[in-house]
């Protein structure tokens, strides 16, 4: 029983560390990528990977009680609103005509 608890704690710590590393990867991509569309792509790493791993790690760490339910609520809400707001930002940028940078265009000059 005690051994199983220790194993669960180890898994929880690993998940929390992986989640925070994914969060910093997403932020680094959002800072360093050359144009808006690739920055949008990089920022979604935090929205998916960071949220999944951090909330799952905190849920395993806390056991099964009210805290797990709150974490589940936060995760479900972020999973509904994250893609929605990303879509809203991308749609507004597309309508207003934000271009890709020269680095991201291929040889024929098409954007993509």
């Amino acid at each position: 029983m005690n051994f199983l608890y220790d194993i669960m704690q180890l898994i929880a710590w690993a998940l929390i560390l992986v989640g925070s590393v994914m969060a910093i990867i997403g932020a680094l991509g959002a800072l360093r990528f050359p144009d808006f569309w690739s920055r949008l792509h990089a920022a979604s790493v935090t929205d998916s990977g960071g949220v999944i791993f951090l909330l799952l790690g905190m849920g395993i760490h806390s056991g099964f009680n009210l805290i797990t339910f709150k974490l589940f609520l936060i995760g479900a809400f972020l999973f509904i609103t994250g893609p929605t707001s990303s879509h809203a930002v991308a749609n507004a940028a597309l309508v207003s005509g934000v271009k890709t940078s020269k680095k991201n265009q291929n040889e024929t000059g098409d954007e993509g």
Binding site: G26, G50, V51, S85
Partner: protein
């Protein structure tokens, strides 16, 4: 050792999340277009939700998760409101202005 280990892990996660928030804030300051800034604001809000959760676990008060949930709600509404404002230059009375133009 196994008792002090969770605090260590949560402290590392807190430092990494804080660094990520600083990087997103730099993009928010530098961003050439408006949409970069909106995207950075949204991403900063998601980072803040995770940061508040980890901070609650670090200080052994997981009730902070209520604040994190509230912050997630406000963050979504703020993103949509900023986008709507810059699209229509108004938040509440878009329909009234259109009717007046007719």
């Amino acid at each position: 050792m196994i008792d002090t280990m969770p605090h260590f892990v949560f402290l590392i996660a807190l430092i990494l999340l804080f660094t990520a928030m600083i990087l997103v804030l730099i993009r928010l300051y530098k961003g050439p277009t408006l949409y970069d800034r909106v995207l950075s604001t949204n991403s900063f809000g998601t980072h803040t939700v995770l940061f508040i959760g980890v901070l609650g676990f670090l200080s052994d008060r997981p009730d902070f998760l209520d604040i994190a949930l509230l912050y997630a709600l406000i963050n979504f509404v703020a993103t949509i409101a900023i986008l709507k404002f810059f699209r229509y230059r108004a938040i509440g009375d878009v329909l009234i202005k259109r009717e007046l133009k007719k």
